[in-house]
Symmetry: C2
Subunit: 321 residues, 2 copies
Amino acid sequence: MAVYTEVSDEELAAFVRSYAIGRVLAVKGIAEGVENSNFLLHTDSGFFLLTLYEKRVAEADLPFFLGLMEHVAARGITCPLPVKTVSGATLGRLAGRPAAIVTFLDGVSVRRPAAGHCAEVGRALAALHRAGTDFPLRRPNALSITAWPPLLQAAQGRADEVARGLGERAALALADVQQHWPARLPQGVVHADLFPDNVFFIDDRLSGLIDFYFACNDALAYDIAICLNAWCFETDGSFNVTKGRALLAGYEAVRPLSTAEVDALPVLCRGAALRFMLTRLVDWLNVPSGALVKPKDPLEYDRKLAFHMGAACASDYGLMR
Amino acid sequence: MAVYTEVSDEELAAFVRSYAIGRVLAVKGIAEGVENSNFLLHTDSGFFLLTLYEKRVAEADLPFFLGLMEHVAARGITCPLPVKTVSGATLGRLAGRPAAIVTFLDGVSVRRPAAGHCAEVGRALAALHRAGTDFPLRRPNALSITAWPPLLQAAQGRADEVARGLGERAALALADVQQHWPARLPQGVVHADLFPDNVFFIDDRLSGLIDFYFACNDALAYDIAICLNAWCFETDGSFNVTKGRALLAGYEAVRPLSTAEVDALPVLCRGAALRFMLTRLVDWLNVPSGALVKPKDPLEYDRKLAFHMGAACASDYGLMR
């Protein structure tokens, strides 16, 4: 649940007047998202989403995120489209924070994805990668492999408070991915956080992608590894190879993988699991008392990592060749 | 912020199928309200509000609340209108809780009401009282004068933790209102919680009333006293007689007050202030650790009560005669 910043009606009315979308008819704080404050906004022109960017999002990165949404939307990806002010800007300020209005996107995120959802996600991810090809702005991945050693260092002293042996498992996995990390995979713009929360469906058809606030330039296949982690495990920690096959086949129907990408898939999956385990672990160990947001469980990714450590090749994830 | 109950997409889809409003296109938890879980619901038929009634609302009272909204809406009051299922019900069950879908109401609540807003509220309150005249259901006021002694008893031992002398001031005020409480004022359906949060405006014109979950049968003038407390004080605790005059004149433009109501206004205001001070005090002393909702400050009503203890007659509130 997340509305971190209260906005007065006068401030909001003045902000909305800088857009050609009519008067404010209603505004409701939305209880979702953990990074920003989100409001559903109804005006004479329809429904919109108003986002106030809180301090976890770097203001300098916002032109990349908003520009990317505009860029891929123009190439057929259904995602929130930033609305421009009368002077042509997509980014403004409200209540002391950077703020943007985007179009309201219909759809419902699925809590328990089936193989059919995974196939849709695979296709959409590949389409997003294609659409991002000629996006001119660049943003390095702030949470890629070079960021993991300091994250591990920050957490290692207390990792075993969460689970016995967790710190050692993380250190072993880090050494492993550092040794095997691929250097020359096809690069591009990746979503980097395409979890089920961030994919909307209507009647089991994918209706849109949201939350581009981790998007960056990285190996395209790393984005697939993130999705295999996020979509294809069961709640008991087992990997569902039917879902993996659906996701990979969906992806390859739009963008076939190179041999190097196929070969790298297991280490990319280990790296992706390690990345989410480490960031969740650091959050878990640093929850402020009275926090409104329950931190996500790092041990979910400890279990996923254990599966990946035993996977030998892409066929273990369901890739058909 | 309030979404106390998570609803799965399958459960929600099944629930919405019992209404003739099409498919679920989107659903967003809303970060407002402290009693219930509220969701904005978009379907093929438009936007709605879905409410799951949590345990602070008695299930047996829901037909009164929902029936009242239907009744007054049919008589020209703009308020959320309960949507009927295909079998004609306004109340269902979802995620183990009573649940209802109502129409989405446009408007924005004002944080700092001006005299013009107070005039609008006075008119709307009187119109609501007129519209409720022939409502056939009855619900006694569970938070009327007979409920205050046990509330005071529950809080008195620790009241001075909140402010020195608070327990004694509350006891004195209770003795005073018990001695002077009027017996035979015109009765009817009162909203009983018409705070600025619960009144919507568009362009400074009142656009609707919400949150009927404290509505009950009581003296109509007691509802005015609640509004004088909620709308006409400044943040420094001073009573703004211009706002009081606007509210009372607005009310009387629609429903003139009887002499007995005019005479009772000061004691009704004392009672209303005491009621909100006591319920806030009990909540304040019983906040569970880790609560998502910040309790409201009882001392705001301690200050208002101090003003009322010095008010002698209705003209002190701005009533013109």
